[in-house]
Structures are given as C-alpha cells and as structure tokens.
C-alpha cells in the first residue's frame, strides 16, 4: 500500500460522484421523501434524465421509488433509504476531509 492510497479521494462514493446523482441525493437529504416533480425542479433536469439516474440509485439501494395515485393522476415519490443516507454521510465526510486539506 502506498501513501497515495490513504488519500480521502479513494473513499469517495463513485455513484455519488456523478453531479446529477449527487444533486438528487442532496435534495432528498433533509426532506427524506419528495415527489418526482419536486426533485426534478430542485435538480433542474428533464424527466427522462431524472428517471435514468433514479433507476441507477434505486438499483444501488440508495433510494426507493413509491408509486401512488392522487385521484386519477399517478404520483411517484422518491425516498432516501438508510443505506443511501449512510453512503451520503460518508461521501460528505470525505468531501469535508478533502476541503480541509487546503487549510
């Protein structure tokens, strides 16, 4: 093992390194659960782009997708899972560590 292996960048979550996925999880951090449209508006991306990243995050177990109906309209909700929250906290902690290097 070399000294460079200890650099915090090695602990960054590859899945959350993607800017869109990073933003999706960031939007869900405080709220826990949000509607698909709310996340789309917060992240400012198209429905299809969001769907694609949501599928990736769901298959990784970071978010769960709920389907319900409000009247006749389908409503999709996105919830940050326990696993997703743990990964997010670890990712943020690593970023803080990297940010602290400059000081």
């Amino acid at each position: 093992m070399t000294a460079t292996d200890h650099h915090p960048r090695h602990r960054l979550d590859d899945l959350l390194h993607n800017p869109v996925r990073f933003s999706i999880i960031a939007a869900l951090d405080r709220a826990g659960t949000l509607g698909f449209k709310e996340v789309r508006d917060a992240v400012e991306i198209t429905d299809s782009a969001l769907s694609k990243q949501v599928a990736t995050l769901e298959s990784a177990g970071y978010i769960s997708v709920g389907k319900a109906f409000a009247g006749k309209l389908p409503r999709t909700s996105l919830t940050l899972t326990r696993q997703g929250r743990a990964a997010w906290k670890a990712h943020l902690a690593t970023l803080r560590e990297i940010a602290g290097e400059s000081s």
Binding site: F22, A31, G35, G100
Partner: protein
C-alpha cells in the same frame, strides 16, 4: 460509465455548499403548507375554543360553527397544498405536532363542556393550544 475525477479542496467545498443549498431549498419548497397549516390550525382552534368557553346562545353557535368552518377550510387548503407532496405526512415529527395539538384541543373542549364560563381555565387551555402550535411551527421552520 462515469470516470470519477477527484475534486480539489476548493471543488470539494463548492460541492458541500451546493449540497447544503439544494437540500435546504428542496426542503423549504415542500414544507410551507405544513407550517402554515399547523400555525393556522392552532390560532383558529385556540380562538374558537376560547370563544366557545365564554359565550352562550347565538354567540356560542356562531363561534362553534365558525371554528368548524375555518378548520374545514384549512383542511381543504392543506390537502390541496400537499397534493403530490409526501415529505412529512408520515413522519414521526409531523405525527408529534398533530398529537400535541390534539391533546391541548381536547383539554380546551373539556373546559368548554365542564368549566363553561371560566375565563382563567379557558385562557389557559386555549393559550396552550396556541403555544403548542407556535412551538411546532417554529420547530419545523428551524429544522
């Protein structure tokens, strides 16, 4: 497949700031109907129960049906406001707010029934409703 490029210290700080900003804005955009509802519910039921405890006859009827009408309108507003939003509806925190409000409201209704005309008890019970609602709204706003 994404090729992760490790961020520099400055970029990491920017990412942290962005995450915090996004998290706050997404949360703020969804919780305002909840804060408005719990505050308005507290004000309406506090004033309503106070009026009910101290009035009789037509005035009592007016305060009774007036309170019911306002609560009904608030519930309609709330249901319309959270349509498609599910950020807090099933959260433990939200259940706590409503349960706290209900306990104080039940106490105020008990005063209306069993201590009708007592300004002191009506003031305490209705004041408690207002306090609980304001505390809940403030807590939610600061979370």
């Amino acid at each position: 497949m994404d090729t992760p490029t490790p961020p520099t210290a400055a970029e990491a700080q920017l990412l942290l700031d962005r995450a915090d900003r996004l998290s706050r804005s997404a949360h703020n955009a969804t919780r305002w109907p909840y804060i408005t509802f719990v505050l308005a519910l507290g004000v309406a039921t506090s004033m309503g129960t106070f009026a009910m405890a101290l009035t009789t006859g037509t005035a009592f009827g007016l305060s009774y049906f007036g309170t019911l009408g306002v609560v009904f309108a608030l519930m309609l507003f709330f249901l319309a406001g959270i349509r498609g939003r599910s950020a807090f509806a099933r959260s433990r925190r939200w259940t706590g707010y409503i349960a706290s409000w209900f306990v104080t409201y039940a106490a105020a209704i008990a005063v209306v029934i069993w201590a009708h005309g007592s300004v002191l008890l009506a003031g305490i019970a209705s004041g408690l409703i207002l306090l609980v609602a304001m505390f809940s709204a403030a807590r939610e706003a600061r979370s």
